[in-house]
């Protein structure tokens, strides 16, 4: 392999990670919410809200940490709204989630367009954000050819995403609150009867999960270098996250792998032509495929996975048994 080809492959692997990370935040966030028994279809809107506020406030304070925290906070606020409606007020989860998406996108464009009319903060003007989002090579590991730069030289939010996913896996499967959370999602009546505060668990974890989604939105904002136009930064990623939860079988650790598949196709869209140029003989055909095909592919694959998982019903599915059902203690 020539140097040029090696470089292209390295960039390709690198980009896969770049594109799967926002999905990882979204997916892990949704897993946490769904494990509490709530099917939240508002991921798209929540990520958008987290993105816009995270970006603007992050820029104004010139601090990425503040940006991340803000995105988390606004995501969590959306979660609070969702929980208030579905847990306390017993509203239908599907409708509440869809409304949250409409509302979230409304807020996103309202704030974004409103600010753009006055003065839009450009990411490049804020050194801390720009540098904060720069790649950070892990000493040692990043020296490995191809995968070193591809996997171990990324911005800090990439590492954070993996850490969050692993932490959530540990939390769900290895801790007592995680055990209780799973009990709430499986059988809230049983959890309630042993004294677990079902409402509190649902509120806290809906907010935690939605906060994580918000960070994913912020990542997308920075990845787009903060350029605001008529296409939303999230652009359907929230919906893919909803589907990826199934793909990952409600397991945050598996979500890391699951998102790679989707990152792969997204990367093909962006770097397909450079791959085609570097390997004209074997991969030349990549250039002939329209970008919309790459854009649609994640959805096609999710659809195929959905069908495949429904055909062979797995033993040990992570699907929480009471997903989508509201819990009312005095139900008769």
């Amino acid at each position: 392999m020539e140097m040029n080809q090696l470089g292209v492959v390295t960039t390709f692997v690198h980009n896969i990670v770049v594109y799967n990370i926002p999905l990882l935040y979204g997916t892990v966030g949704e897993i946490v919410v769904e494990k509490s028994g709530s099917l939240n279809l508002g991921v798209e809107g929540i990520m958008a809200v987290g993105a816009i506020f995270g970006y603007i406030i992050g820029c104004y304070t010139n601090s990425m940490a503040v940006g991340i925290l803000t995105a988390f906070l606004f995501g969590a606020l959306c979660g609070l709204l969702f929980a208030a409606l579905t847990v306390s007020l017993q509203a239908n989860q599907n409708i509440t989630g869809l409304t949250l998406t409409t509302f979230g996108l409304g807020v996103y464009f309202f704030v974004g367009n409103g600010l753009k009319a006055v003065a839009w903060p450009a990411m490049n003007d804020y050194a801390n954000i720009k540098n904060g989002f720069a790649d950070l090579a892990i000493p040692g590991l990043s020296q490995i050819p191809v995968i070193g730069r591809g996997l171990f030289s990324h911005n800090v939010m990439v590492y954070l995403a993996v850490a969050v996913a692993l932490a959530m896996w540990w939390y769900l499967n290895r801790t007592t609150p995680g055990l209780r959370l799973r009990a709430v999602g499986e059988n809230p009546g049983a959890a309630d009867s042993v004294g677990i505060n079902v409402k509190r668990y649902k509120y806290v974890h809906t907010m935690l999960g939605c906060g994580i989604m918000g960070i994913g939105g912020y990542y997308m904002a920075l990845n787009m270098s903060g350029s605001f136009n008529s296409t939303c930064w999230i652009n359907g990623y929230g919906w893919i996250a909803v589907a990826l939860v199934i793909f990952a079988n409600w397991n945050p650790a598996l979500a890391i792998l699951g998102t790679f598949v989707f990152g792969f196709f997204n990367t093909l869209r962006v770097s397909g032509s450079s791959l085609a140029a570097a390997f004209p003989g074997t991969l030349g055909w990549l250039a002939a495929i329209p970008t919309q095909v790459y854009q649609a592919l994640p959805f096609v694959i999710t659809a195929v996975v959905l069908v495949a998982t429904s055909v062979r019903k797995r033993e040990g599915s992570g699907l929480p048994a009471s997903l989508g059902l509201n819990y009312f203690r005095e139900e008769r």
Partner: protein
Amino acid sequence: MRFHVVKRDNCPLWKKLCLYVLAVAAALGLGALVLLAMGVDPAAYYYRMFTMGMVGNKIAYKTFENYLKVFVPLALTSVALSLAFKMRFWNIGGEGQFILGAVAAATVAFKLGPSLPGAVTLVLMCLAAMLCAGLYGAFVAVLKVKFGTNETLMTLMLNYIALYFITFLGETKADWNFYLDPKSVRPIFASFADIVSFPKIPLVGKFSLNVCVIFTLVIGVLVFIYLKYTKHGYEIAVVGDSAGTAHYAGMKVNTIVLRTVFLSACLIGLAAAFKVGTAGILSTAITDDVGWTGIIVAWLSQMNTAVIFLVSALISMLRYGSTIAAATFSQVDSSFANMLQGAILFLVLAADFYTRFRVVPVQKGGKN
């Protein structure tokens, strides 16, 4: 004093209405606060929005026509979705079905429009749109009955696949691509408004009514009768209530599911045909989000056709009115409508709680 929440048996209609009106008013109040913060007079803004700038306007008939163009697809899509929802089939693929219907209708208009009489072309456009959208919906239903595939997520994925399909058509300059305007260097959709479009029936003065509006109303009535009085409607109600019972009663549940979802998607296709047949041009934003909004309209109306029309009329007013108002109040982005719509729905969902539950104080004491 302690309180606790108990279920209601039923809630009188006037109470429900009061609660919903209160919820909408509260949402508008919240919106007013946002407007005030931006230095806009809420009363002026809302006045402009809800009258859609029609008062004292010489071309009010134009506004009225445009309003109906927003109303028709939304109302018809919501009615269509109510069919599936009544059966508890979560068809949230209205967007995708609408897009495929629109593309099919446009195909007929471009290919057959020039050689056939207008009326025939229009009928063929409707049929093609219904068929394509119907099959797109039925595909999910097949998977659902065969493998138990989750229809919510499946229809969701198909929405995006359809969206990128129409984007592909709209952005790919090629000899075969007759959807695009050949005269333009940049890829833009071609108009077929000169070839064919739905006729209008004149009313008072310059006001007129597009035949699509009449068709939509007629279909609404038909769907109402279909759901309420026919055997099919009865089957839908039973399957929706308890699929086990339907099976037990000897109903062919799979057939009923397929038929109903097909019909639901067909009507969404028809809504799309009405839309493109009136607009005379495709667009990647052809759906105007009716696939999403329709879900919420159908659900909030509790699948009651008459209520669907009322709610659709209000939401269309909100959406179209806000674009008009945005022209006058340039500092308020038209996405304000989305926010307002979200706020209204949240508060209506909250109000809904009080129609189903009561909060009562716990009393002390007994007979001793």
